[in-house]
Structures are given as C-alpha cells and as structure tokens.
C-alpha cells in the first residue's frame, strides 16, 4: 500500500517527477561521459602507442614517461641504435603540437611503415611532394576532409594525399625532413622507436642503452612500460578530476532532490497531517518520502545510462579525432550509487521536516 501511495504521488505531479528524473539522469550522464572520456582517451593513446610496433622508445633528456621534452636528439643516434645487437629496426619522429590534443608528426614513411606494418590507405596514397599530408579517418571525418583538399597548419598550406586507418601513433603525418625544416631543427628527432628481434631481448636492449654513459640523460622505455604508465591511477590530476566529477554529481543530485522534495512536502502538508491523524508514525512519513526519492534516483540513473550512449554517439559523430568516450558498465552501478547518495541527502531535511510536522497545524493548513 505504501508503494501504491508513492507511485500515485509521483504520477500526481508528472512534470515534477519527470524533471527530477531528467535532472538526475543528466547528473549520471555527466559523470559517465566525463569518466568515459578520461578512460576512452587514455585507451586511445595506448592503442596508438602500441600501433607503432616498436618495442623500445628513446626520448630526449628531460622527458618523463608522460611528457615529451622538446630538446631534440641528433638523427645520427638512429644509426648507432641500428647497429646494436638484437635491434632489427629503428625509426625516428618529430612531433609538432597543435591546439591540444592535436599534433603533427613527421615520419620517414618507409621506415615507419616497415616497423608498424604500413598504413592502410582508405583513400589516396603515400607522400608525393613536400607539402603532402596524410591524415587518419577520424580526423578526416571530423574536419570533413577529402584527398586533394588543402589544409592550413603551422602557417603553411598542405595537401591531403592520403587518408589512412587510425591507430598508428598519430592522426596527422608529414614527411620528416619537411617538418624538421619548418621547425628549424634539421637533423634532429623528438622520439626514436626501436624494434627488437625477439620480445625476450627487449630488456637486454634497454639495459644496454641505460648503461651507455652518453645516453645517461635520455629516457629509455619499453613500449609496454610506457603504456602501463598511461592509466588513471598514474595520473594524479585525472584521479582528482574524477573525484571532483563525482562530488559535483552528488551535489547536483542533492540540490535537485532537495528542491523537488521540499516543494512536495510543502504541497502535501495537509496530506501528511491526514496520515498522522490516521495513525502514521513519523517513521512512516519518512519512509514514504525516502521511497519516492529512491524511485526518482533509480529511474533517473537508468535514463542517465541511456543518455550516456547518446552523448557517445554525438562525440563519435562530431569530434571522433579529438575525443573518445568509453562506455563503462562497471561505472553504471557506481553512478546509481552516486545519484542515490545525492538524492537521499537531498531528502533528509524535507523528510525530517515532514516527519516532525504538527498534525493539527497541518490539518488547519490550506
């Protein structure tokens, strides 16, 4: 019977009920989208790092696992690395950052192709001339680019010569010497990738490099080591960011439900008095309001999970190159809990007010 009263009360004010659920669902979608973006973008970055096909990565002095120093390395290092035992292939790149998170990467197409297994061209083909630009499918979609079209980047006009399947290191590629010239860094590289003859020898190569006095300041990582560092738990900023989102979610849920239930309690002053007059205890009144809130939070969360698919669809349709949102079922329950916590906190005061409300005054109330 109490459930019937709860449902009838919710049905009695459909707009209030719907808007409360919608607000809770937006709270849930916000958390799912931002958390999904955090994980999605990290995973994309891992996927593209692996896509190079390298086993060992050498970075210039002053770099860390997650930041790249722009102190360049001499190109000649490549020849030295190629001569080391167990190293089968070597290729270097230059990275020129654009507006975050985009960047242009200069590559030696032949060497890069050998190491990574080669680009898969969806349209067009390899570089023909110095102003040629290869882009990946997502960038092409986001910027609505076709082969042959002109693009302005780094104060220069480029021509799209090929559109390739995404997943190899970067989204925009130009020829290495062209980018080196543009930066005034002839003969310098910002990253060097090494491939081993056998996985078993990766550590041997790394140890050899680390023991070389001339490379003392350089960052030497195995790809797997670097990839394992790209995770939420290794990015303190991201962890804090997610904590802030969860906090915000709880606050939004709290405010929405507080307002909604507060007005509901005011509106129902008389009914609450009636319930008390027929013998309902304060606990019974509390119970009604808590159940009502739980229903709002539950269906609001389900709607929110649904909306997170809509937000992902929007992101992959509109900005597939800049943002990737991961759908994370393991977060659905967490979000439900977040919205429930916010909602229950929001009901506490209105429900307490209702429970202690004087029945006689309530019955005299119009």
């Amino acid at each position: 019977m109490i459930n019937k009263l709860v449902i009838e009360n919710l049905k009695h004010r459909p707009v209030r009920t719907f808007l409360s659920m919608l607000a809770i669902s937006i709270e849930v979608t916000m958390v799912l989208t931002l958390v999904g973006l955090s994980y999605g973008m990290l995973e994309e970055s891992v996927r593209r790092t692996r896509g190079v096909g390298a086993d060992v990565i050498v970075r210039p002095p002053g770099s860390s696992a997650l930041t790249l120093s722009n102190a360049p390395m001499p190109e000649k290092l490549q020849n030295y690395f190629a001569g080391l035992p167990h190293v089968t292939r070597v290729t270097g790149t230059v990275v020129h950052p654009l507006v975050f998170p985009e960047s242009v990467t200069g590559i030696d197409l032949a060497a890069f192709g050998e190491m990574s297994g080669g680009f898969k061209y969806l349209e067009g083909g390899p570089f023909q001339s110095p102003e040629d630009l290869i882009i990946d499918e997502h960038y092409a979609r986001q910027q609505k680019l076709k082969v042959g079209q002109k693009v302005n980047l780094i104060n220069r006009t480029w021509r799209v010569c090929g559109i390739v399947e995404s997943g190899k290191l970067a989204r925009l590629f130009v020829q290495l010497p062209v980018l080196q010239d543009l930066e005034g860094n002839q003969g310098k590289l910002s990253q060097i990738y090494l491939q081993a003859d056998d996985d078993a020898n990766i550590q041997t190569i790394i140890k050899g490099l680390k023991d070389t006095p001339a490379l003392k300041e350089y960052g030497v990582y195995s790809t797997e080591e670097l990839v394992s560092l790209i995770s939420v738990s290794n990015l303190p900023g991201l962890k804090a960011f997610i904590a802030v989102i969860i906090g915000l979610g709880i606050v939004i849920g709290f405010l929405v439900v507080f307002l909604s239930m507060y007005t509901a309690v005011l509106e129902r002053t008389r009914e609450i008095g009636v319930l008390k007059a027929i013998g309902a205890s304060p606990g019974y009144v509390l119970n009604i309001l808590l159940r009502e809130t739980a229903v709002l939070a539950f269906f609001g969360s389900i709607l929110g999970v649904g909306l997170s698919f809509v937000s992902r669809w929007l992101i992959t349709t509109l900005v597939p190159a800049s943002l990737q949102q991961k759908i994370m079922p393991e977060w659905w329950l967490i979000c439900m809990a977040i919205s429930l916590v916010g909602a229950l906190l929001g009901t506490l005061y209105p429900a307490w007010k209702a429970a202690k409300q004087d029945a006689i005054e309530a019955l005299a109330y119009d």
Binding site: V274, I278, A280, A359
Partner: protein, 232 residues
C-alpha cells in the same frame, strides 16, 4: 484499571497554548464521562475549545494538566509513539474538510488506514455491512476529486472506522455539506452507532444535527457548562 462503564473519562482537563508571550487557555477544567456505545453531540460557540478537546482525546495534542482515560488508557501518560498508537487503534477522526488523500482512490484511502494499522487480508464482514450502509460500493474506484462532498465525507467515515476504533471523533462532519447530504451523513452515523455499537463524539454548530445524537453537551470558554442527562 477496573472495568468502567465509561469508555471516556475526562477529569479537570486543561490545555494552555502559549502564543508568543500570551497564554491561551483553550480548556479550563473539562469533566466528561461517555458511556460505551453512546452517540454524543458537543455544541458550543466558536473558540470554546471543542476541537482542542477532540485533539487531546484523539492523541493529536498533549494535555497541559488533568486526566483523560480513553478505553482504559491514560492519555496523559502517553509518549508521542503512544499517541500515534492511540490514533492507529483506538480512535478514528472525521473532519469538516474531508481530508482524503487526493492521489488515492476511495478504496485506497480506506486501505491505507488498514495498512498503517498493519491489518492485511480481506475486509471483515461487519465492515462490508458498514460499506453497504455508506452506499459507496459503486464509487470506490474514484479519486476524491471525482466524488461529491457527501460521498467524500462518507469515504472519510469509512476510513475512520475501518480499523474498528473504540471511539469515532467527528469534528463538524456536516459543516461543508448541504442539507440533503448532511442528513445522509447524520443518519449514517446514527446507524453505525445503533447497528455496530460505535461510540461517537460529534462536534456540531447545528442544533438539528445534535438531534441525531443520544445526548448533547455544551461548551463555553473551555468548559462544559451543562450536560443534560439524556437527550431523548
């Protein structure tokens, strides 16, 4: 407590409301005995304390001093939880404003009173008979706003007696009704009183309504001023 023929015994009952700096003496020493099975009318001018008396009898308010015994229970000794229990099991209220829950059908308004008192299962036979008296069978699935004032008040009466309370307290039950509906409700109260022996206390402003009761008491300035031995 020794078995008394009186279901209600009130001795020197006082109630003082404090409004800011001022004390309002709503009841100034009420004495009242009501035998089990009586239909009693309470009349008196506005502000004489009739509703206040009912609120104390029904456990909606606590007395300031005096003793009140309802069906053998000392109301003054009750805690908040005890008064909730009193409202749940011992008394039923009917108000001038029908006070049905607007979101529930007539049937569910009655059912929720049963569920609050933790009574489940089918309705008892005596209650089905009472529903027939109330002539509500056809209207039970309607929401209050689809019912006339008279129908709403009859549902409120059904809700008030469904848990078989020892005492039914009706505060101006016909105050919002036209003559025809008033008469129906009053007849009904009298039949409930005669057929199932329901003890009823009814506040009214209308001398004709008081005629339906076995006895009438008068209140003035927080006291019962005269209590004719029998009204019929």
């Amino acid at each position: 407590m020794p078995e008394s023929p009186n279901i209600i015994e009130v001795r020197d009952l006082r109630k003082i409301y404090r409004v800011g700096e001022v004390d309002v003496h709503a009841l100034r020493g009420v004495n009242l005995d009501v035998p089990r099975g009586e239909f009693l009318a309470v009349v008196g001018p506005s502000g004489s304390g009739k509703s206040t008396l009912f609120h104390i009898l029904g456990g909606l308010a606590a007395p300031t001093s005096g003793t009140v015994s309802m069906d053998g229970q000392d109301v003054r000794a009750l805690t908040d939880a005890g008064r909730t229990e009193l409202r749940k099991r011992c008394v039923g209220f009917v108000f001038q404003k029908y006070n049905l829950l607007p979101t529930l059908s007539a049937r569910d308004n009655i059912e929720i009173a049963r569920s609050i008192a933790h009574r489940t299962g089918p309705q008892e036979e005596w209650f089905k008979d009472a529903l027939k008296l109330l002539d509500l069978e056809k209207r039970l699935d309607h929401k209050p706003r689809a019912l006339s004032g008279g129908e709403q008040q009859r549902v409120a009466i059904a809700r008030a007696i469904v848990n078989h309370p020892a005492i039914l307290l009706a505060d101006e039950p016909t105050g919002n009704l036209d003559t025809k509906n008033s008469e129906a409700v009053l007849n009904l109260l009298r039949q409930l009183n005669k057929k199932i022996g329901q003890t009823i206390l009814m506040i009214t402003h209308n001398p004709e309504a008081a005629e339906f009761a076995d006895r009438t008491v008068h209140m003035r300035d927080g006291e019962i001023v005269e209590a004719p031995a029998a009204g019929h």
